[in-house]
């Protein structure tokens, strides 16, 4: 077609003079007269114009499916036809809709947990499961273990594309690490004071020896022992050891208590003995000093007036002695001395001596004088069954 404007205008003028056979001349001349729109529109859509909006809407929906939002703590991984395209962080993002691109969102901050082994309760119920969760220790004992591993996804890309079933492998690796550590440990420490060290060492082995090689994109935070028990078949024996340990302490404490019971009183006693001795010592010395002072005073007196004092002391003593009613006194004159024969009846003496053991008397120094008549018999002192009574038996007089 000739789209020259000038020529078209000329043609129009010519056509205006000679009305065209087709359309009317009512409106402005149609420069595109020769081109009927009807010719260039596919005929099948002629009656279906209203359908188009639906397809457009569907198309928009399809396009919109590519919108996705990555929350904080998450990472989005976009693949194009399966191939890794990009990693995206927080915020709204767009990917070309499926099947061109697709996005996977992983939570990388969340700490996840896997548990390895079974609890001892479960172990009690099921023998086969018990065998599965038991571990062999370094000192040839068996323990049941359940522990957990806390980890998070550190690298989303590695996590998705480096390992098939990374969580399963992590569990296996953790078990291997724990077995290694338990196999180097003593059962007593695993059950009691060594738990922390076992956990720490298992973590170290897991991280350094194993995961460093595997490069799974996970980061293990902690390995935690949950339930560690000796197997049912031996748990009573283990408990008994604990109570035996307590028994030992108890025995020792008992002995300590006994010791506290007897030693302090002994110390008290000891003090008492020494104090008594000291008291006695003081007393004895003071007494001696007193006596000697007294003696020395008397000596001084004596020296000052010897004869007089001597006589005085003598007479005082005699007074004391002779004034005692229990003392039998016999005075003989010089003349009488010749006529009275002092007669000591030795026969009479013997009964006294024989009687002595029976009578428990202080042995008396009594001298016998059965026949003397000047004797004023001393009234009996009444001092028990003394030899005085029997010794002065004959000689008459009231007793």
């Amino acid at each position: 077609m000739n789209w020259d404007w000038d020529k078209l205008q000329e043609k129009r003028r010519r056509q205006a003079k000679n009305p065209p056979p087709q359309g009317g001349g009512d409106g402005p001349e149609n420069p595109f007269d020769g081109l009927s729109p009807g010719k260039y529109m596919p005929k099948i859509f002629k009656g279906r114009f209203p359908i188009w909006p639906i397809f457009i809407v569907l198309l928009l929906i399809w396009l919109a499916s590519g919108i996705f939002i990555v929350n904080p703590g998450e990472v989005g991984v976009v693949t194009q036809f399966g191939k890794f395209s990009r990693e995206v962080k927080d915020g709204p993002h767009y990917h070309l809709p499926f099947p061109i691109e697709s996005a996977l969102i992983l939570n990388t901050e969340m700490v996840r947990t896997i548990e390895v082994g079974i609890t001892s309760e479960t172990a009690k119920r099921s023998q086969s499961k018990a065998e599965e969760s038991s571990m062999f220790t370094g000192d040839e004992n068996i323990v049941h273990m359940q522990f957990s591993v806390h980890y998070n996804i550190e690298n989303a890309r590695k996590f998705l594309f480096n390992t098939k079933d990374p969580v399963v492998l992590l569990a296996g690796a953790a078990e291997a690490a724990m077995r290694d550590v338990v196999g180097r440990s003593k059962v007593d420490s695993i059950l009691t004071i060594g738990r922390n060290e076992v956990q720490a060492e298992a973590l170290r082995v897991l991280r350094e020896d194993i995961l460093a090689e595997y490069d799974m994109g996970v980061r293990v935070h902690i390995v935690q022992l949950l339930d560690v028990q000796p197997p049912t078949e031996v748990e009573e024996a283990f408990r008994d050891v604990a109570s035996a340990r307590e028994d030992r302490e108890r025995f020792i404490n008992q002995a300590g208590a006994y010791r506290n019971e007897i030693v302090p009183p002994a110390q008290g006693n000891a003090s008492r003995i020494v104090n008594a001795a000291n008291a006695y010592a003081a007393q004895v010395v003071r007494q001696a000093e007193g006596e000697s002072q007294r003696f020395l005073a008397m000596v001084e007196q004596f020296n000052n007036a010897e004869d007089i004092t001597r006589k005085r002391l003598y007479l005082e003593a005699m007074q004391d002695v002779f004034s005692s009613p229990a003392l039998e006194k016999i005075i003989l004159s010089k003349d009488g001395q010749g006529s009275v024969l002092p007669f000591l009846n030795l026969d009479r003496v013997s009964p006294v001596r024989k009687a002595l053991p029976q009578e428990q008397a202080a042995p008396s120094a009594s001298m016998q004088e059965p026949n003397a008549s000047f004797v004023t018999p001393a009234p009996q002192a009444g001092r028990g069954p003394s030899g005085a009574g029997s010794g002065i038996r004959s000689g008459g007089g009231s007793r």
């Binding site: 099948i44 065998e131 998705l160 077995r179 010395v285 001696a288 020395l296 016999i330 010089k334 001395q337």
Partner: protein
């Protein structure tokens, strides 16, 4: 109008045919090989959109990630004919997809064959080692068997194995051997064994072990109790000794003090008496007369007695 409809439908069918037969995806963790008439062709197809010829070419996709399989519990004998139960896993990955497809055909087949190979290596290597090289046993003096000393946590560091420093090295070497041998034998399949690890090692015949554990614990319990009792006795007898000693010492001290005091008293007396022995004799005699002759005595006095001097007058 009809022709247009047919044309469009035909177009759609062609498109569908094209997409299903000629286009395929390979994911990031996969590689694919196009087989022509059953034979794998190069190049190895990378992740993303890939194309192939329809009909005469087919696709095999391989997961090239690191994979793992377990070798379930099995009895394995050591060189000294002791049995162990071992539970392992192995990690591997496809390194050469072409070789892999040529030799293994499918991943299921591959896993089984690899498992067999690794298991045979484990059996072979462990079969050459004696029991004590395979299983680490903490050897104690009998007296402390199994007991944890005060302050000792009880985990032996890898490089500080008790008594047998070469044991730990021996075991690592053993695993190393297993790994290397496995690698060797699987190279021909285009795979690489990355790691072989023992998840659990157990001795069969658990009953015997339990018996032994019980006996050991019983021995320990008895030991504790025995210790407690003998310590008890020791402390008691020591305490009694202490008590007796304290008393004895005090008694001795008491006697000494008394003796000293008495000696001192005697000294004081004799010092005083020494000043006038005659007076002492005199006054003491008078005291004797007083006390001894007061009672139960007969005294015969003569009138001439100086005492009765004034009596006659």
């Amino acid at each position: 109008m009809k022709r247009s409809v047919i044309a469009v439908i035909a177009l759609i069918l062609v498109a569908v045919f094209f997409f299903t037969q000629c286009v395929f995806y390979v994911r990031e963790y996969q590689r694919a090989l196009v087989l022509q008439l059953g034979e794998p062709t190069l190049p190895v197809r990378e992740p993303g959109l890939n194309f192939k010829l329809p009909v005469i070419q087919s696709v095999v996709t391989l997961d090239t990630r690191m994979q793992s399989f377990i070798i379930p519990k099995n009895f394995i004998r050591t060189s000294d004919l002791k049995a162990l139960e071992i539970d392992c896993y192995a990690c591997w990955r496809i390194e050469d997809p072409l070789l892999f497809v040529r030799t293994m055909r499918s991943e299921a087949v591959a896993t089984q064959r690899l498992r067999d190979i690794v298991y045979s290596r484990i059996t072979a290597v462990i079969g050459t080692k004696p029991f004590n090289d395979v299983v680490f046993i903490i050897k104690d003096d009998d007296a402390d068997a199994g007991r944890v000393q005060e302050g000792e946590a009880g985990v032996i560091a890898p490089d500080m194995a008790l008594h047998n420093p070469h044991e730990q090295a021996a075991r690592s070497k053993m695993m190393e051997d297993i790994l290397q041998q496995s690698k060797e034998q699987t190279k021909q399949y285009g795979v690489s064994i990355i790691d072989v690890r023992i998840k659990r090692m157990d001795l069969p015949n658990r009953d015997a072990i339990f018996k032994r554990m019980n006996a050991e614990r019983e021995k320990m319990a008895n030991q504790y109790r025995f210790e407690g009792q003998s310590e008890n006795l020791r402390i008691r007898s020591e305490a009694e000794l202490e008590r007796d000693t304290i008393i004895a010492v005090a008694t001795g001290e008491g006697i000494r003090i008394r003796g000293e005091a008495e000696a001192k008293a005697m000294r004081i007396f004799s010092e005083a008496i020494a000043k006038s022995p005659s007076f002492y004799e005199f006054s003491k005699s008078l005291e004797v007369y007083r006390k001894a002759f007061k009672d139960n005595t007969k005294v015969i006095l003569s009138k001439d007695d100086p005492l009765l001097r004034f009596f006659n007058n």
